[in-house]
């Protein structure tokens, strides 16, 4: 479709090329793997932020339970691979579809709800899922939602568990997601979402079927979350319920708030900053003999400050630009 040279000739293409070189550079660093892990985690958060952005950003509904889909994806892929021996490449799309279905299911009763009521239901939903994986040992196979020894994906007989492989893996997933979300955002569907977020009634009088387009957003957002979860399951090898706590939802929300709700760039930047800042803080807080968890204080401060002074994100001081 597009020739390699045309990509390389553009400045942005060069950046992409540069990103692909990161693992080579880190190979010579003392803690290169660790750095790659941080990068991969940041990409994962970027992917999740893009997914959350579809509902919270594009259609303007505050989703406080996004981690629920992350959880569904993680457990679907994790269980299929660890318990039933599925290949990752089969488990990934199944996880995405499963997540999307739950997005629809969760969406159905909430279609009429707006604002804070929607937020509460999403919150309750993810907390319920959290309880279910924690308690239902027969389903998960381990206590506390433990799924052990999730195998790494294999490609032509090679196991892709090394950090540089994981790095490319998530980078590719991220770029594909970005492509899909970008194209949707700049299409008839994306415009309909935007219209819904600004004025539901006016959108209806434009012939936009509210329920249909909201459901579509829920499903796509959920599927992206589930893809993130599936990646995470094999990345982490062991997953447990504890990973999918409520605060994870808030962290992702914080990312899109920081970058500016409703824009792709904002979601990416917010996730990049907080995804890596989180790690820096974790280390530096422990130097200050403060609990590593206190980094959430800073996330909280970011939410408050952004809403107060820059509701449109760090990049923009005024309202949306095209």
């Amino acid at each position: 479709m597009i020739s390699m040279s045309s990509i390389l000739s553009s400045r942005s293409g060069l950046i992409l090329f540069f990103l692909c070189l990161v693992p080579l550079a880190t190979a010579y660093l003392d803690q290169g793997d660790y750095l790659l892990r941080i990068c991969s985690t940041a990409y994962l958060y970027m992917l999740l932020a893009l997914g959350l952005n579809v509902v919270t950003g594009f259609t303007g509904l505050l989703d406080l339970g996004y981690v629920g889909f992350y959880l569904i994806g993680g457990y679907t892929a994790g269980l299929l691979m660890a318990r039933l021996g599925w290949s990752y490449w089969a488990a990934l799309p199944v996880a995405a579809i499963h997540g999307g279905l739950w997005g629809l299911l969760r969406g159905a009763p909430t279609l009429r709800l707006t604002g804070d009521y929607f937020a509460i239901v999403t919150f309750g939903f993810s907390e319920l899922l959290f309880r279910i994986v924690k308690n239902e040992e027969w389903l998960i196979g381990g206590p506390n939602g433990f799924v052990n020894d999730i195998p790494a994906p294999t490609l032509f007989g090679y196991e892709l568990w090394q950090y540089w492989q994981q790095y490319y893996h998530i980078l590719i997933l991220l770029i594909l997601t970005l492509l899909v979300v970008y194209r949707l955002h700049n299409s008839r569907i994306g415009r309909a979402w935007q219209a819904i977020s600004q004025d539901e009634e006016a959108a209806q009088t434009m012939g936009i079927n509210l329920h249909e387009y909201k459901s579509l957003a829920f499903a796509i957002s959920a599927a992206i979350g589930a893809i993130g979860g599936a990646f995470f399951a094999q990345f982490q090898v062991n997953i447990s319920a504890g990973v999918f706590e409520f605060w994870e939802s808030i962290l992702i929300l914080c990312m899109i708030v920081l970058g500016g709700i409703g824009t792709l760039k904002g979601a990416l930047i917010g996730a990049a900053i907080l995804g890596s800042l989180g790690e820096v803080l974790r280390i530096s807080l422990s130097w200050m003999r403060l609990p590593a968890d206190s980094r959430y204080l800073i996330f909280g401060a970011i939410l408050v400050m952004m809403m107060r002074f820059r509701p449109a994100g760090i990049l923009r001081s005024t309202q949306k630009s095209p």
């Binding site: 899909v180 194209r183 949707l184 299409s187 008839r188 569907i189 994306g190 415009r191 309909a192 935007q194 219209a195 600004q198 004025d199 009634e201 006016a202 959108a203 209806q204 009088t205 434009m206 012939g207 936009i208 079927n209 509210l210 579509l216 309202q319 949306k320 630009s321 095209p322």
Partner: protein, 260 residues
């Protein structure tokens, strides 16, 4: 007349928990007309529009559009059927560009769905091109072509009104409902609006409007319906309505009516 009415409302009633907003209203709009709905504040005019466009569920009655029953149809379906509207207190997608506002109006005119949007196949690209061209054309029609890339919320009041009309036109309606299009406009703007409404009619679109500016109403309407306290008190061509004592009474008070 053997032409069928475009919009026919019979016995339309709307209750809000005991309060009757519309009581047994009968009304017709003929194709190609510029019709008006007038009446004092709180007479139920906007409620009637809301019932027709599906934003409110009427209590009882019959609404048919092109001989098709549209009573209780959902708002988006009404739009798909060919009824477009504007709002009394301008409801643009104010954070989007002017062009995008109109392109959203083109929603009814396009089919592309998930796969098309993701793959950007030929059909999709042609459709997007078509939408953009149409939207451009409509912006020209309402004299906003130079504002296409601006954020709708930043336009002046009169421009916002016209943009809302362009957006409604983009849904390719057969009937356009305008809710107080001249509110807050100065005489010059009002004159332009009259011209605009006339040229909309020339596009074979029937116009049905609510308006308080009587000069405007009397100048362009071919048929006027008057509501008061949710009831139809008069209807007819401007001259007839103007001299109807019930109308004068409703507007100027009892004594003025008898003075006349």
């Amino acid at each position: 007349m053997d032409i069928d009415p475009l919009l026919e409302i019979t016995g339309l009633t709307k209750n809000f928990g005991g309060v009757v907003a519309l009581a047994q209203v009968d009304l017709r709009v003929m194709p190609g007309q510029i019709a008006s709905l007038i009446g004092p504040n709180g007479a139920g005019k906007t409620t009637l529009f809301n019932c027709v466009t599906g934003l409110m569920a009427p209590t009882t009655g019959k609404i048919s559009f092109q001989q098709q029953d549209i009573f209780g149809t959902s708002a988006h379906q009404v739009a798909m059927n060919g009824i477009a509207r504007t709002f009394q207190n301008i409801r643009l997608f104010s954070e989007m560009t002017v062009l995008d506002n109109v392109r959203i109006g083109c929603h009814t005119q396009s089919r592309g769905y998930l796969w098309a949007a993701i793959s950007r196949n030929r059909a999709y690209r042609e459709e997007e091109l078509q939408i953009t061209t149409d939207a451009q054309e409509l912006l020209q029609f309402v004299n906003l072509e130079n504002f296409a890339t601006q954020i709708a919320g930043n336009l002046s009041y009169g421009d916002q009104r016209r943009l809302e009309i362009a957006r409604a036109l983009a849904t390719n309606p057969k009937l356009l409902l305008l809710d107080e299009p001249a509110a807050g406009m100065n005489p010059q703007e009002t004159n332009d609006l009259i011209a605009l409404i006339r040229s909309i009619r020339e596009r074979n679109i029937t116009v049905f409007l609510i308006e308080h500016d009587m000069k405007l109403v009397m100048r362009i309407s071919e048929w006027i319906t008057v509501l008061n306290y949710g009831q139809k008190i008069s209807q007819g061509p401007p001259e007839v309505v103007q001299s109807d004592p019930r109308v004068i009474e409703a507007y100027l008070g009892q004594s003025a009516g008898s003075n006349h």
